[in-house]
C-alpha cells in the first residue's frame, strides 16, 4: 500500500511487535494488517514512532532499529548499535532533536539519532539494569527506572540527578508523567502503583517530587502505566491478565479490561481524546477498548506469539 505523502500527519498509526520477530502496522478501524516488517535477530522490546511520523523505532537485544513508515520496505533502514544487552525503552524529544533509550546494561542514553548534532550523545549509568525510561514533558528531565527499585531523575542539561526509592529491592517496571507535568506514576513488580505530584522547576531548577498516593493496582506484577492525554485517567497493565483504568482524581477503579485467556497484558496506549485504549497481550492479539463502557471494540489478529509493545499515533479532527 502506498501511503499518501500529503496526508502523512493526519494519519493514524498503530504498530505492534513482540516475540514472533515481526512488527505489524494496522488499519485501526477495520482490524486489517496493512504491513508486516521483519525484526530478525531478536524479540521486540519497545516501539516508538518518531515525532514526524516517518519512522518507527524498535528496540531489541543490543540494537535499536529504525523502519521507514512511508515506504514498503520490510527491513530496517538504520541500525543503532553499541549496547551490550536488551534495550528496554525508547522515545524521542518532541521535535525529534534526539532519541533516548534505556537498557539492561545499566544505562540510559541520549542518541544523536539523525547525526545532526555530534554533542547530543549522553550516557547515564545506573547500578542496576534499566527497565524503563520516560521523558518529562518539559523535555529536559529523563526518568529512569531500574531493577533495584530506584527511580532516577536525570537533568539532561545539567547532568544533575536525584534518586527516589519507593520500595526497596522491588523492580520498577514503568514510569509515566502526565502531559501537564503535574503527576508522576510508577508501577513495580509487586503490582503496586505509586503516585507523586510534581512541581514546576523554575529556570534550571530540577522538578520537585512529592509522594502523593500509593495503591495496590494488581495482585501480580504491574507491567506498564500510562496517563491519558487529558490527565484524568491512568491505565495500568499486569501479569494478572488485566488492564485497569483508574481515575486520577481519587485513584478509584473506573474499568477493568479483561478477556478470557488473554494472558499477560504488556502494553497499553490511549487515543488522543482519551476515549479508547489499545492493549497488547500474550495471546498474540492487540485489542481496542472503549474506556466508557469497558467493552472490547476491535481485535487485531496476526501475530504468532505474544505482543509486547505498542506504538500509536493519533490525529485530531
Amino acid at each position: 500500500m502506498v501511503v499518501d505523502g500529503t496526508s502523512e500527519n493526519d494519519q493514524i498509526i498503530l504498530a505492534t511487535g513482540g516475540y514472533d520477530h515481526t512488527i505489524k502496522i494496522w488499519q485501526t478501524h477495520t482490524g486489517i494488517c496493512q504491513r508486516t516488517m521483519q525484526h530478525a535477530e531478536s524479540q521486540v522490546n519497545a516501539l516508538e514512532i518518531t515525532p514526524d511520523k516517518l519512522s518507527l523505532a524498535a528496540t531489541g537485544y543490543q540494537h535499536i532499529r529504525m523502519y521507514d513508515l512511508a515506504s514498503n520496505n520490510p527491513n530496517p533502514t538504520v541500525n543503532y548499535e553499541g549496547i551490550t544487552k536488551n534495550v528496554t525503552g525508547v522515545g524521542f524529544q518532541e521535535d525529534g532533536k534526539w532519541m533516548y533509550t534505556g537498557s539492561e546494561d545499566c544505562s540510559a542514553r541520549i542518541w544523536d539519532y539523525r547525526l545532526k548534532s555530534a554533542h547530543a550523545a549522553k550516557i547515564f549509568q545506573t547500578s542496576a539494569p534499566v527497565t524503563c525510561v520516560c521523558l518529562h514533558p518539559n523535555q529536559v528531565e529523563l526518568l529512569v527506572g531500574d531493577q533495584s527499585g530506584v527511580i532516577h531523575l536525570w537533568d539532561l542539561k545539567t547532568d544533575h540527578n536525584e534518586q527516589f526509592i519507593p520500595e526497596g529491592d522491588t523492580m520498577i517496571l514503568d514510569i509515566d508523567v502526565d502531559s501537564e507535568g503535574t503527576l508522576m506514576a510508577a508501577v513495580n513488580s509487586k503490582g503496586r502503583c505509586y503516585i507523586w505530584s510534581l512541581t514546576f522547576g523554575r529556570d534550571g531548577e530540577p522538578t520537585k517530587m512529592y509522594p502523593k498516593h500509593k495503591f495496590e493496582a494488581h495482585k501480580r506484577q504491574a507491567l506498564k502505566c500510562k496517563f491519558s492525554p487529558d490527565s484524568t485517567l491512568l491505565v495500568t497493565t499486569s501479569a494478572d491478565q488485566t488492564a485497569r483504568i483508574w481515575k486520577t482524581c481519587d485513584f478509584s477503579l473506573l474499568q477493568e479490561l479483561k478477556q478470557e485467556n488473554q494472558r499477560w497484558v504488556w502494553d497499553a496506549v490511549f487515543s488522543s481524546d482519551s476515549q479508547y485504549i489499545f492493549t497488547a497481550s500474550s495471546d498474540g492479539y492487540a485489542k481496542l477498548w472503549n474506556v466508557k463502557t469497558g467493552n472490547m471494540e476491535r481485535e487485531y489478529a496476526g501475530h504468532q506469539k505474544a505482543i509486547i509493545a505498542l506504538a500509536f499515533r493519533d490525529a485530531t479532527v
Binding site: D10, T30, T36, Y80, G82, A121, K157, E297, Q304
Partner: protein, 471 residues
Amino acid sequence: MALYDNKLWLLSHIRDSFISTDDTGMSELVLIGDDLPKQLADNLDWYRDPDDSDDDEDDMNREPYEMHLDMDFEVRRQRSNTAVRLEKMDIAKKRAAKVKHIKWEVSATAPTTEELDNLFVRKDIKQNQTVGKKSLLSEQLEKCTNLPQNPYIEYAKFDGSAQIGILTRKYKIFLTMLPEEHRNYPMIVSCIATAKIEELIGFILLKCSTIHGDFPLKPVSHYGLYITEEDGEVDHDFPNLDPKECVAKFGFTCLGLVEHKQITKNVSFESSQILIQNESAEDINISIHRKIKGDEAKQITANMHLMKVHATAMEAPLYQSYRVYIVNKMRAKAEIQLGISGEKIEIDPLQQKNTKFTFVRQKPVSHHIDSVAWCEVTDTKSSGTTFRVVYSSSFGNNGASSNVNANVTQSPTLQTSTSFKHYDFEADHNTAEEIVQKINLILELRSSGSRKEYLASRERKQKRKTLHTNK
C-alpha cells in the same frame, strides 16, 4: 588507483580469492556475515586514508573486481554452486548496505553551553491543547460502528508472509468460485506450515475477501481444497484435502478452492465489473490480466462457456471413473468406483477401510449403456448430492434390444413394474453434477430402446396420475 599498498584492497583480494577457489563453499558460510576486510583494516591501520574507509566508495571499488575475476582470469571450472552462493552473498551484502549502521559514540569534547541550550530546551508546559478535540481514531470508529467484522479475521494469524524462524508454505490458489475472468490466475498465498487445511482455507478466504471486496463468501466448511494443475484445472479424481490435516502433510503447491455447493452460475457480469474496479495495488501482476476491457471480457467469458459445453459433449463418451458412494434401500452406503464410457457403466466395489462388516456387499457389475434408461439428481444435501441411474434389468437377459421392443408391445404395464431397476449413488455436488451430465449426454446421443421405453412408461404414469386427480 592505489592497489598493493592498500591494506583494505589486499585483504579484500585475499578474501575474494579464497572464496572463488574454494569449491566446498564452506568459506562463504564462515565469511558471509561481516565485511571482514574492512573491520581488519580498521583495526590494523589507524592512519588509513579516510577515503578508503568510506563505505559506499570502497564497495564500489571492490565489487567490479570480483566480477572481473571470471572473465579476465578465465577460471574454467565447475563453480555453479559457488556462483550461486556468491550471488546470494551479493544480495545479502546489498541488503545490508541499505541498512545504515550507527555506532554509539560520545564526543570527546564537551558540548558548549550554547549547544546544550539548543539541544535541551526546557519547555513551558501549557494546558494541553489537544484536550477537547476529537480524535481521528474515534471518528473513524464511529463511522463504521456497524461495520460487519470480516468473518475470517481469526485466520489472520496463519499468515506466513514476513515470518522469521517459522516454517511457511507458499501456494498458488485458484479460486474457482470467483467469476470466470478471476479464476484463470492463481492467488499467491503464504501460510505457516503448522496450519491445518481448514485454517488455510480460512486464510485464503480472508485474503480473497480483502482483494475481491464484496464477493459473497460462505463459511469455511463450505469450501474444499483440491489438487489442481498449473493451468488451474481442478483435478476431481482425487478427493479434497482433509480439512483437519496439517498443510505440511501435503506436498502440492498448486491448489484449487472449490465451493461444495453450486453458486458460481448466479454470478452476474455486473458484479464482476465491480470487482475489476476494486483491484488493489498489490496485485500488479494480476491486474495485467484484468486489463481486458469490459466487452472483451464478456465475449471471452461467453466463448469460454461455449467451448466448455462443446468439450463436455465431446468428452462424454470417453471413459472416466469416479469415486462415489452407492446407497442401498436401507440407506447404507459403500464406496465404489463408477466407470462411465460410451459403451457401458461399471460398478466396482472398493476395499472398505476400517470396517469389519459392511452393510452393503456390492458385487462388481457392468451394464451396457443401451440398458441405461435414465439418470437424474434426486436429492441435494449439504453432505452431498444423491443421483439415480435407472436401467432395464431385462436388457441383458433378452439378449438383443429388439426383443425389448417386442416385450413392450406385449404387456407394457407389467414391463414397467418389473424390468426397470435403479441404483442410487451419492457424491459431492460437483462430481454428481458431472456424472449426471455425462450420462445424459451419452443417452441423448444413443437414444436406445430402453430409454424410449422408460420415457414412454413415465408418460403413461403421468397421464394416469392426471386422470386420477381429475376424477
